[in-house]
Amino acid sequence: MLGSKVIRIRFLIVLAILFSAWFVVQGVKSTVATDQAELFSEKHESSDSEISTVNKITGLPAPGTYQLHKIFSVPEYSVLDTSGKSQPISKYTKGKITLLTFFYQRCSDVDGCPYAMGLFHKVKSKLESNNSSPDSIRFVHISFDPKRDTPMMMAGLEKRTLDPHHNKKGLEWNFLTTESIEKLMPLIDGFGQNVDVNMNPVTGDQSLNYSHVLKVFLIDDEGYVREIYSTSYLSADMLLNDIQTLALEKSK
């Protein structure tokens, strides 16, 4: 018992010495418990390019001041256009800066397909109002639901979306589908898009679990995915910023 107490006292002394030693070594004052917020304002005001100055409203850096790295090259698959003709997906992912997302017409998740559709319209509207050159930008929607979203259905959607009265500047917006779930699955796997196939044990019919995570892919004109957005990371300002960043990269 006595030995234990002695050891405890020694232990506390060693603790105190070591703790003090660390503070001496670090030159830290005992007032560390005060608010330590410390802005190196000189650097903010300097031209030090390593320090970011984000837009106060959007919280984003200025276009062209950052890099969008190549994440992966869009895999080569076939899709069906609105006339039902098989086309290589590269037709829709190369030659222009492309925003691509997967969707299905019956989707009613407010945080899913309708949200993305609304966002694309906002981006389109801003591109047009900013006098940008929308002919160098393309939007692509690919259906998760080849059974219901047939080429004919996609053609109708495209017509409604690209009403000539509202598409005077000619932004290309493609609505694509696939022949079957078997053709679709490798495509969405290639993009890393989560969606699941369910099989009816009685009929053997396949259907998709549409509880997918919304993703939008920004693709450069060489067919490389340069950014991926999800529900927690998706806004019109961000898309516009990144589109402009890719455009500036090309113009250098």
Partner: protein, 449 residues
Amino acid sequence: MKLKASVSAIRKISQVAVLGVAIGILGVPAVYADEASCSPFTPLVKGQEDFVYVWTLGVKGLGDESDKLVTVDVNPKSKTYGKVIAKLSVGGRGEAHHMGFTDDRKYMWAGALDSNKIFIFDVATNPAKPKLVKTIANFVEKAGLVGPHTFYATPGKMIIGALSNPKDHGGQTGMAVYTNAGEYVSTTMMPTTGGGDGFGYDVAINPNKNAMLTTAFTGWNNYMMDLGKLIKDPEAMKEFGNTTVMWDYKSMKPMKIFKTPGAALEARWSFKPGDNWAVTTTALTSQVYVYKEDAKGEWQQHMVGTIGDPAKIPLPVDIALNADGNSMWINTFMDGTTRLWDMSDPLKAKEIYTKKIGNQVNMVSPSFDGKRVYYTTSLVSNWDMKDKANDQFLKAYNWDGKDLKLAFEIDFTKEKLGRAHHMKFQVRDLKTLQPLQASMEQNNKLASK
């Protein structure tokens, strides 16, 4: 004879404790593991988790002696509840440390701080039995960094926060970005100007605010050094981080550098919808720091509390915010205690509950609903307590809102597994995973501008 043996045992424990204190003074790597500590880009287990993966350090003379991924069945309805159902050795001991899921939660990356190897496990094909599908063995050559520590998923990519560098193996370090396919993309060094000290540790992102918080620990020279030797080396003791950095995540450039004395470790953002604050704790000074924007939209750091009695060096290690953002578990290694803090007003944080978990405790992982809490023990192999004080376990508790009640315990030494370190949850059916929607309201507002 018995008395003599007893005194001798106490003396040994005391020596271990002193070493443990030294660990505290030098700083300790801890880990994050719970759902609310996952990247916001990763779908979450919001219901009952089926498995806990434990990234386990091999121990010489114990079992196969190798680092391994241990899978434990944690679904109470299962016949193998509370049992180890799979072990996957990766061959050799490389100082297994932290893990992180890819943004689709189909793969889990796990790092080793000494060998610098990164192991990628398939945890989707058969979540009950993960499979090693790729080993990245050239991290140092590709990224120019040493000590792959934090694995933080972003869409299609993985940010790897490192602890050290290959030039001098000190604390100057950075973050590497890889694609989900395991291809190296880029390296960003921690800032060394404008108040930055170049140290790194944890990474946490708030997509709503395009903000990323990083913390700072120490380099390979220290975390791999024998502890007794380290505490006698005053030069080595200078080599600990004293800053935190708020980054512009998009550009990977610092927005603001804070003085945060005492090696800030885990970085967490509140997942509560509408919340936009982060928190960390300092290992050496036992402080809780909260990061929040002021009325002008500028990030500020606030010291909001002191953990335990700093004179007793409680040594805060892992922290875990509950998903509602109202409370936070803080483990203190030296006294093996877990502490629950009320964070409902993050600027007025306060401790409301404590419980001793073991002789030493490092990691804490609450379920998304906060009803189950898991604990493991190991820090790094050279710094864990010695002999009988060297508890190595996974303990599962049920939290009823008032008290933690032990559900099961696995002794990792008796099971010949090794040192129990980082934990991650997984479900049998990945279709039940749910995305974090905490930010939609914010994003909709942003998008509508």
